[in-house]
Amino acid sequence: MLSRRQLLKSGAYLTGFAALNPVLSWAVPPSQSSDTSAFYQLSLMLTGRKQLSQVITQRALHCLSEEDSQFPTQMQQLSRAITAAGITQTDELNGHQIMLDAATGATARKIVSAWYLGFTGTPVSLRAVDNTRFVTYTDAMMYTPTLDATVIPTFSRGHTNYWTQPPATIKND
């Protein structure tokens, strides 16, 4: 039988584990920790959005930090550089020194890449294991521009073998 003391003890362990284990805490909204909030603000600016999914924010930050333990530091560095330059729009970064600088430019690209591609790391073809980490599939931003006309790949667009027929609207497209 489980004694009350044992129950309380294991409960406490489990709670601590859940709070510390980033995998389990993905679903938890971002705390006001400086890293998460900095990453969220950077993501908003770099993707030009007003709001982003908290789950994906947590996951992208987690994956990027797993891949490179220096990432939080680099991100803070990028954040400071952007604030110092007074940049508020993504477009202002075009050809800017921040992007030309190897460290800050790479960091910015990593963040954008995680949001658009839905994974972090670099895939190696014909290899079962590489350093890629899953962020999101359905919410990867690369699908957004065509979402009004096409569905996300792997989700069906029409009847079986529909692609053998050219679309009826092909003249207007």
Binding site: V23, R59, F134, H159
Partner: protein
Amino acid sequence: MKISLRVLTVAALMAGFFNSISAQAADAATDQLIKRGEYLAVAADCGACHRAVKQGGAPYSGGYAIDSPMGRIISSNITPSKQFGIGNYSERQFSDAVRKGVAADGKNLYPAMPYTAYHGLTDDDVHALYTYFMQGVKPYDAAPAEQTQLSFPFNIRQIMWGWNLLYRDDKPFARQDGASEQLNRGKYLVDVLGHCSTCHTPRNMMMAEESSQNLAGGPLGGWYAPNITPDKSGIGDWSQADIVTYLKTGHLADKAQAAGPMGEAVEHSFRYLNDGDLNAIAMWIKQVPAIATPVAAREATPAVATDINQIIVGQGSQSSLAASKTTDGAELYNGACASCHGIEGHGTKDNFYPSLTSNTAVSGPNAQNLVMTIANGIERKGNDIDVAMPAFANQMNDAQIAAVSSYVRNQFADINQPVTGEQVKTWRQGGEAPFVVRYVSYLMAAGVVVVLLIIFGLLRLRKKS
């Protein structure tokens, strides 16, 4: 002599000529009759039950098992084989089998054969059917491998005598007075040939159709044949054209798809009927008395949409790919269903993969048809497209099918009535046993007690006198 011979020859030739003309005319008439009989056999969907076990087997050779609550009833060979089929049947015997449920050898048929509906067949139609089965169908000289073997006491065919006495209606088809020719044709097709009530009318304790609940829906194996009366809980919001489209193709955008036995009825019967007949059916169905039946209660507040990013967390390790023990409905839905029906259950724009958000299988009074569709899949030929949905019974266990069904009903129809693995198991095994099967031993015991009491009473009377 010569002249008379010549005259005779000419006469003989003439006679032969006219004979062949009349023979040709007779052949043409018989061909016509066979054609008509074939159409009637399709409308009556004889092939649905009297088909071979294997696909592509000889038509009407039988052997197909009809799962009834009393056991498996094996359909017979109704090809004109003299030894194994109905080749020796006279038209009278054929008529008695079809209309009265009595085979040529005097044995009673089980009412799995819808003679309670076919009794209304006109003599003309029986003649056409007989001609077709005798001359238009190829004899198949083998008996079905299996034999019908029901549990005691249902294996005693004589008990059907009493049942027939109570429930067989021997009156001929009654036309509705004052109704149009088309409406009466619809009545004939629905009540007699199409025997719609066989599945769509609930049955009483003795497994006979409850005529007061005509077409109000009833359980059928693991499936549920829905209410098809023009009530809100039935198909009241279907137009006549909707019904025709559904019968012809097996699907109606944003409303319903034919699966299970109805899918078979579309594939083998309805899609071959002409537009006149389909419209007559629809017209009749739209004016039968509306009967209200229970509907599933919807939640006042719609279910919160599941965030797919909470469910899909990456592929994990290689070993986790092989493990699929999850009973998380959302996870199962996204793995098995979403690629066709969409994450949000909207289906495809062309309705080929139907929407689940407006779908009678999902929002039905119970989850039966949803569960059975997931377990058995759909394989149906309609007049426009062939439809195939994979059966998930081999990939998912009962608990998983229950979980994904609960998820689908909750997310896409706001119905919060969790399905259990036990329910899934029951439905997959043919549904709940009806009263007469569950209590047959008690009924028999009661019968014995009654008989004993009568004997006892008689003995007492004799002693006194």
